[in-house]
Symmetry: C2
Subunit: 322 residues, 2 copies
């Protein structure tokens, strides 16, 4: 079996070897650009890992892995337009570099490229793979829509928030694994079990990200600690606080949300989180989902020793700050 590092290397090579048409240059340059910005290639690695788990050659699953990674990068281009984001992985976003119209259209053609990769799969698995891929892609779009709508709302219930991150982030991890399993000829029960693993791991991972935004070690956390606080982002932390805070503390929170002094804002809102034990409450929620993920993996009908890579990956994802 392959280690995650070996899989990532295979994926990087495969991405380097994708040939996009030369013309129109401005249509395909942004695709080469975003695909080469890197990232950890976790999603396609999950696809290959799932295929490997069932003894399939990873080359067989590579078209599915590339479809997933291409689709993911397409969503980054369009999400960055919608979020008006200037930077992505420390570099200019596509719409900043090439303009919004170009970014819309390059994203569109990336979606076609993703489908082209997928269509390279063997005929026998194609129908199932399409079903998984399309359902996943649809879920991701729905998640982004909910995320945008939540910005306009005063508050959001925690189940609605979890549903949003499930769609926006987690189903792509689950779908990536299910695809790998399907390509490898796993049973539909096995594929579903891996999907459950991926989705719940994805939710836990996002909830952990919410917690680390407040309590992460600035040295280890990849992003600015307190970024969500500054942006008044409705994370699990903020929603829990809104549920529990006294009227006085709610009005303190309301006041802080308009505080232009970012350091002070982070300090004061973190103090409110501390007052209501939000870190612990959020961690419980997070662990519920990581437990669901590990249960799904335990129940997966595959020899135990073949699962070690998945346990390792899950540990790696869930222990960035433990």
């Amino acid at each position: 079996m392959y280690t995650p590092n070996q899989l990532q290397e295979n994926i990087e090579n495969a991405i380097q070897n994708i040939r996009y048409p030369a013309q129109p240059e401005r249509l395909y340059q942004p695709i080469r650009y975003i695909m080469s910005l890197g990232g950890k290639r976790i999603r396609p690695a999950l696809t290959l890992m799932a295929a490997d788990l069932f003894g399939a050659a990873i080359e067989k699953a590579m078209p599915a892995a590339l479809a997933i990674e291409t689709f993911h990068n397409f969503t980054l281009i369009h999400d960055d337009i919608m979020d008006n984001a200037p930077l992505r992985r420390g570099k200019q976003t596509v719409h900043e570099k090439w303009g919004v119209n170009n970014a819309i259209l390059s994203g569109d053609v990336m979606m076609v490229e993703a489908n082209k990769h997928l269509s390279m799969l063997e005929s026998t698995v194609l129908k199932d793979a399409l079903e998984t891929f399309n359902t996943t892609a649809q879920g991701v779009c729905e998640g982004q829509q909910l995320d945008m709508e939540f910005e306009e709302l005063q508050t959001v219930s925690i189940p609605d928030y979890i549903n949003m991150i499930r769609l926006k982030t987690a189903v792509l991890l689950g779908g990536a694994m299910k695809l790998g399993a399907q390509v490898a000829g796993a049973s539909s029960a096995q594929a579903s079990q891996l999907y459950e693993f991926g989705v719940n791991l994805g939710i836990a991972f996002q909830l952990q990200d919410d917690i680390l935004d407040v309590y992460g070690d600035p040295e280890k956390f990849g992003k600015q600690v307190g970024g969500d606080i500054i942006a008044n982002k409705k994370t699990l932390m903020l929603l829990k606080l809104k549920e529990l805070a006294s009227p006085a503390d709610l009005s303190e929170l309301e006041g802080q949300s308009r505080n232009k002094n970012h350091a002070e804002k982070i300090n004061n809102i973190t103090a409110l989180y501390d007052r209501y034990n939000i870190r612990e409450l959020a961690s419980i929620e997070m662990r519920n989902y990581s437990d669901l993920a590990f249960n799904a993996l335990n129940n997966l009908d595959v020899e135990e020793d073949r699962k070690s890579q998945l346990y390792e990956l899950a540990d790696l994802l869930m222990s960035r700050e433990h």
Copy 2:
């Protein structure tokens, strides 16, 4: 065999029966909206007509027809954003009604919906259908990119212009027919022949549209006569004129391009077209492509009497003003 009207009726019914998810409402409302704005449903009708030509039940080809129509409407949503268009078929465009971000995302999920329709095809034809669909979709994106780039250029060669309309408009007609043929189990030679018919018909149709913009009967032409002139759009007419005009007439054209008096601008530029016999020259170009289309149809290896609907449709499309 079915008449074009019967096919259109079947398509309208099938579109009415598509069930999109209820939530998130703002993601799916724009899809229902644009799909219900109507139009002549020419592209999906071509798919069904091609399937019918080879004796397949039209129900068998309906998923491909719906994929084509859904994809087409997705491109309308995104093109309208890029073109900053306020109206589509006399109604507010999606981005005007729901905002740009929503329009981007509803378009994205429509692309997924198109792929979902396509994936409903029988497994035996799925791989070929995906290849045709993805190649077509990619071509349409490339055409839109070229169209946007041409706006920034001083002038464009006529072959480059033809290539742009081939991609932006014509390959979708060709691809729609090829899909129908493939679903019906036609040979690849037959499918390619129908593709040639559709693409060349599409180019001829667009060139005719360019001519009618100047010389159309305002009563019969669906759009404002002179619309392209007012917008300084680089149509076949304008590009031919730029090739042929004397320096003095070129500078007259240049001056007129900034004329704010639209009636006067249309009159004066039409006078330039008349001076250089542009209508006739453009008509020759158009007839080259309609001849290519009819040749492809003549050479198509199918009993002659089964082709009558296609001849009728082509005549209908090409004789709006004859």
